[in-house]
């Protein structure tokens, strides 16, 4: 029954009003006591207030003003009962309506009824409004959470973002999240407003396991889960109180965290007050939202792990090849030497049969060392550790030299080996030894695959860029072309290579027709090495062939002018230095000549190589403000600088190099004095060695 508060001291009038309103089913409470009146208003006991103008104990206007605020809050209207000619403006100002005395029953009932109706309408509106505000807030949290989720690839972080979002939007009492990291790493994250009793903790674990099993129903669970396998992480807000099993009676929401078949965990939240439909939607949305990024995170983790493994394998492969090859060389030498002694006859007479077999052994030892050298070469060029000695010379000389060494082998197989050299061939920058290696490989291949009576033509010529058929060049990243080239080709009349196999010939360990290769010997490394060597000369190597008609291998090397050569060199240096992070400029400040020399000596002794050396010694070594500076370039700035901080070696200024490889004189590390005893110089050098594992050469 709707209750109406009547503030009046007129007992007769009170009776009349109570009677009138009762007819319309309104109950009337009479009171003039300030405290109880406020209480009625604030606790929503009454829905309307009637106040008489004529109060004896207090001023009705002031009283009305006092009630006004509380009434507005609860959407309660105040109707003043006034004398017909009242001039009490204050009272009228703080009330919503008035009825003149003596009170007319019809007017009173109508006025009260309409005001009560209005209150109900306003009440509903207020409620809807607050619901709307709550939904808006939840949406906002959802949006923020999903933005956060999208930005992270860290599983732990993702779960925390989700729990955080849930806490903000649902203000739960407790959340219990089961997270599967992997089979042996299962966590139960409990976020709670208050502490957790041990009993509750145990039952939350059991509950999580049961929910987990229930999720998979009759299907096999991905992992068998045991209470002891679960690691509990607790985030407690207030330790004042402790939740016990009673919390399990709270309203709760539950959702699995999964993407399709992939299961990441599950989450359950408890709240003292019931969850609304909107809360449920919000909860489900968040649980669903976290699944996708979680999958991304686990994929990312997988990729990262695989990548690390691959990198490690690649490094191991290189190291393995290098170590094995070195280790093989020593016993091989002993075998070779022993055979040589026996064959020389110095250890006693050798029968012709013994001689035959000893020769066989010697031949195979030579072959084995060839294979080892190939492996070492390949691992070296691949790692960029191969050193080249470029000289401007005619390519005819290494080609001719190798052709001559193969003449006997060719004659034995009755193969005609012809050299067609261009006498006016341009000089180019080549490493003689490496070109010999390439040509030797090509000619020996040609002899291998050419039948008796065949013909091999080795040709050198000057060509221009337009003469190169670029469609023949396979597998070259960002080729750089020059205008003029010298070309060397080795054409045989041999068995040829099938079109589909042409691409493979330069691949490592690629053996076209295994049986053939076995018959003809070789590691399958010769051509990949040749390709790397030619590319180091900034040239290209390619192959043309027709099955059963012969094969032609050709390579070109650019003809460079002085200027191009210089820029090519610089580029090479830069490339090399890029491979080991960026360059730095080391400036040594040391006034004491003796110390300075000891540093220079130390640098020399350990053979660090200078990436960039100023041609002008004055530039490399100069005075400023009475201090002497020495510039030394060293690679790998980061490691270096870090080491310096760690080692607390002061005195070295390091400046970065810009793209043009000239030093920017920004001082990155600049603390003052160089260590003034020799020990520090030694430890510095030790450190340089450790940091670079490289040879640094100083020239001042």
């Amino acid at each position: 029954m709707t209750k109406i508060l009547l503030i009046s001291e007129n007992i007769k009038q009170n009776k009349q009003i109570t009677k009138s309103l009762a007819k319309s089913s309104f109950a009337v409470i009479c009171s003039c006591d300030e405290t109880s009146v406020i209480n009625y208003l604030q606790n929503g006991i009454v829905s309307l207030v009637l106040i008489d103008e004529d109060l004896k104990k207090q001023d009705s206007a002031i009283f009305c003003k006092q009630l006004h605020a509380a009434a507005i809050k609860e959407n309660i209207a105040i109707i003043a009962l006034v004398n017909s000619k009242t001039e009490n403006i204050e009272l009228l100002k703080h009330s919503n309506a008035y009825i003149t005395k003596p009170v007319n029953e019809k007017i009173l009932t109508a006025s009260v009824a309409s005001n009560i109706k209005l209150k109900k309408a306003v009440d509903t509106l207020t409620l809807n409004n607050s619901e709307l505000a709550k939904s808006l807030y939840q949406l906002d949290v959802l949006y923020n959470t999903s933005t956060h989720l999208a930005g992270s690839l860290d599983k732990q972080k993702l779960i925390n973002i989700m729990i955080d979002g849930l806490e903000k939007s649902l203000s739960f009492s407790l959340s219990s999240t089961l997270v599967f990291n992997d089979e042996h790493n299962v966590e139960l994250i409990i976020n709670s407003l208050y502490g957790i009793s041990p009993r509750l903790e145990h039952s939350l674990k059991l509950r999580a396991i049961l929910s987990y099993r229930a999720l998979f129903d009759k299907k096999r669970v991905p992992y068998e889960l045991n209470v002891n396998d679960i690691r509990v992480i607790k985030n407690i807000k207030h330790h004042l109180e402790e939740y016990d099993l009673n919390i399990l009676k709270f309203d709760n929401l539950f959702a699995p965290i999964n993407v399709g078949e992939k299961f990441f965990g599950l989450i359950e939240v408890f709240r003292e007050t019931d969850f609304s439909q909107e809360d449920t939607t919000c909860f489900q949305t968040l649980a669903r939202q976290v699944s996708l990024p979680l999958e991304n995170a686990s994929l990312y983790e997988e990729i990262k792990n695989t990548n690390t493994k691959l990198e490690k394998l690649e490094r191991l492969k290189s190291e393995f090849i290098s170590i094995v090859s070195h280790e093989l060389r020593t016993p091989l030498t002993a075998i070779k030497n022993s055979l040589e002694i026996c064959l020389s006859g110095k250890a006693g007479d050798v029968s012709s049969i013994m001689d035959k077999f000893l020769n066989m052994a010697a031949r195979n030892v030579t072959r084995l060392s060839g294979i080892i050298n190939d492996l070492l070469d390949l691992s070296k060029v691949e790692a960029g550790k191969m050193d080249f000695k470029f000289e401007k010379t005619s390519i005819n000389s290494p080609v001719e030299f190798i052709k001559n060494t193969f003449e006997n082998v060719a004659r034995e197989k009755n193969i005609e080996l012809i050299l067609d050299k261009d006498k006016n061939i341009s000089d180019t920058y080549i490493d003689n030894q490496r070109i010999e290696q390439v040509v030797s490989n090509l000619i020996s291949n040609a002899i291998k695959f050419t039948n008796e009576g065949g013909k091999i033509t080795v040709k050198t010529e000057n060509i221009t860029l337009s003469d190169i058929d670029k469609t023949k060049l396979f597998d070259i990243e960002k080729p750089v072309f020059y205008d003029n080239y010298v070309k060397v080709s080795v054409a045989d009349s041999g068995i040829g290579i099938a079109q589909e196999d042409l691409k493979k010939v330069f691949d490592q360990f690629q053996q076209i027709e295994n049986s053939l290769n076995r018959k003809n010997g070789g590691t399958g490394l010769g051509l990949p090495i040749a390709k790397q060597l030619i590319e180091a000369h900034r040239g290209f190597i390619w192959v043309e062939s027709e099955l059963n008609h012969g094969t032609t291998f050709s390579f070109v090397i650019p003809v460079l002018g002085e200027k191009e050569k210089f820029s090519a060199d610089l580029e090479k240096e830069l490339l090399k230095s890029k491979a080991c992070s960026h360059n730095v400029l080391l400036v040594l400040i040391e006034e004491n000549e003796c110390e300075r020399n000891s540093f220079i000596e130390a640098v020399r002794e350990e053979k660090f190589s200078i990436i960039r050396k100023t041609s002008n010694t004055k530039e490399a070594y100069y005075e400023e403000d009475g201090k002497k500076y020495l510039e030394i370039m060293i690679p790998e700035a980061d490691k270096f600088a870090q080491g310096f901080i760690e080692k607390k070696i002061e005195s070295i200024l390091i400046s970065e190099l810009d793209e043009k490889n000239s030093p920017k004189y920004d001082i990155l590390y600049s603390t003052a004095i160089f260590p003034d005893n020799g020990e520090d110089v030694i430890s510095l050098m030790e450190f340089l060695k450790l940091s670079f594992n490289k040879n640094i050469k100083a020239e001042v």
């Binding site: 020593t330 030498t333 070779k336 022993s338 050193d387």
Partner: protein, 123 residues
């Protein structure tokens, strides 16, 4: 007839020392052998060989260090040193040359090659 020339072979690989010794003795040289850097160095000072064949990777003191120690000492600096190693990197060769090594031979080597070099220095 003058006394035969003395050659000191220092290598931790006994088999290699053995084969080198056999061939060099067949050439009429007087061979001394050491199987690690430390004894190699002390033997060099004791025997004062006419030539040394030195391995790089050895226990205790490596070949570079032996070479450096001898070449910076006036008493021994004229002893020719032939460095023999399984390491073939160009930079290693450079280190060998800077430490005063006279010749640098990469394993696996031809015995004839070593003998030719020895003969060249001791002719």
């Amino acid at each position: 007839m003058s006394e035969s020339k003395k050659i000191l072979i220092v290598d931790d690989e006994q088999d290699i020392v053995e084969t080198l010794k056999f061939m060099l003795e067949a050439q009429g040289y007087d061979c001394f052998c050491a199987y690690d850097g430390e004894s190699g160095l002390s033997m060099a000072k004791e025997v004062l060989p006419d030539l040394m064949i030195l391995d790089v990777m050895m226990p205790k003191i490596n070949g570079y260090k032996i070479s450096r120690l001898l070449k910076y000492d006036n008493k021994y600096k004229d002893i020719p040193i032939i460095m023999v190693t399984a390491r073939s990197q160009e930079e290693d060769k450079l280190i060998g040359q800077e430490t005063g090594v006279n010749e640098y031979i990469t394993k696996p080597f031809e015995l004839d090659e070593v003998i030719a070099k020895v003969n060249e220095y001791l002719a």
